[in-house]
Subunit: 225 residues, 2 copies
């Protein structure tokens, strides 16, 4: 076995969790369901803006502020602040994509340590993994709040490797988001892309080392390297 990896670092939002049920949280309030995509992109935009400018706020705070802006002026069935609370209240109730448990098990059975690293909260990572029945297979739930910078700033990945006591070169980052893998690659990590929707890789980022349509496929590709 020539595999030089010790640890696989899993992203959480959208990589493990399926955000689709949040769509109903928007429509519950009278807002259009398609705002989910705009809101999530805008939350990352503002969090990355803070990271680029050398600052940091929690995902919850950034997400709430962006949501307030998007929902203001819409014809809702409740006050904006109540609608914000309702939409964000869906985050802790999300479930993993169906392919996740088998993928996590494959990584662990392949001899790799598995952790999560999220721009969100570690308590949500924990609840998500518990509901999926794989919490005991995931050694640690790390958050960028402890790094002081959101991914894809280098500090977030360096923090993870240091906390794990592993050289970055022996870590693989696995995510659905190309920007996350771009960031992990800048610090020397191996990268694995889960592309569940068959979307093309955005050519403004360096290509990932391995890719596949789900976590088991990416796990196998990492184990085969």
């Amino acid at each position: 076995m020539t595999n030089a990896l010790d640890v696989v670092v899993l992203d959480v939002n959208e990589t493990l969790s399926d955000l689709a049920p949040l769509r109903d949280r928007f429509t519950d309030t009278g807002a259009p369901g398609h705002l989910l995509g705009t809101w999530f992109a805008g939350t990352l935009r503002d969090g990355f803006a803070l990271a680029a400018a050398g600052r940091s706020r929690t995902f919850k705070d950034v997400g709430a502020a962006g949501l307030r802006g998007l929902l203001t002026g819409l014809d809702l069935d409740r006050p904006v602040e109540d609608a914000v609370t309702h939409v964000l209240g869906g985050l802790p109730e999300l479930d993993v994509h169906p392919d996740v448990p088998a993928g996590v098990r494959a990584l662990v059975e392949g001899g790799l340590r598995v952790v999560t690293l999220t721009n969100g909260s570690p308590s949500q990572s924990q609840a998500l993994l518990e509901r999926a029945g794989v919490a005991e297979l995931v050694e640690q739930r790390l958050t960028v709040d402890d790094a002081g910078r959101w991914k894809p700033h280098a500090d977030a990945y360096v923090y993870a490797a240091q906390t794990l006591g592993v050289p970055r070169e022996r870590c693989a980052m696995v995510a659905v988001h190309p920007w996350d893998l771009m960031g992990a690659a800048t610090v020397g990590m191996t990268t694995g892309w889960i592309d569940r929707t068959g979307s093309p890789w955005p050519d403004v980022f360096d290509r990932p080392h391995v890719a596949g349509p789900d976590l088991p496929a990416v796990a196998q590709a990492l184990l085969d390297r």
Copy 2:
């Protein structure tokens, strides 16, 4: 007059230009018009991701890559690449918001130098200002491509002030985007927020020094300081 400002730096996309006509470019191809908001937020997200990770690509490249991803798998009336070209082809044809010419004139008549600083291309800034009849009032069209980092990375604003030969403290950044003003403030610039839609200021960013519903109002507030 106690005003210590020499230069007003205007953002371009959405601050001067009205992106609304791009909605029709999406629907022309068979894509839903609401993708405009998701696409623009996603383009900034990916550009800021590069900035946070210490990298940079042009707005056009980042915007095209994101658009390709969003349009793939939709029921379009043409190939994805043609749809990407059609949507991006709307960018150089945008016009300014109606309040912009009077606002630029007010700044110049108030004795301030006026320049633009965009995450996009300076040729589009130039064409936009020419169509609005105020190109001769705007001393320079700066782009972050020459800074090596997109706004809101500090390098972008420092580059602008250095190019203008003015201390940052004597520059004011004016934009509709809170993240842009957050970035300008980190390097000591005065900030002016145009809030044309009555949206609340996102409380994850420090508040701007002045604000108003259009460029003339923000111009007056800057001149009154």
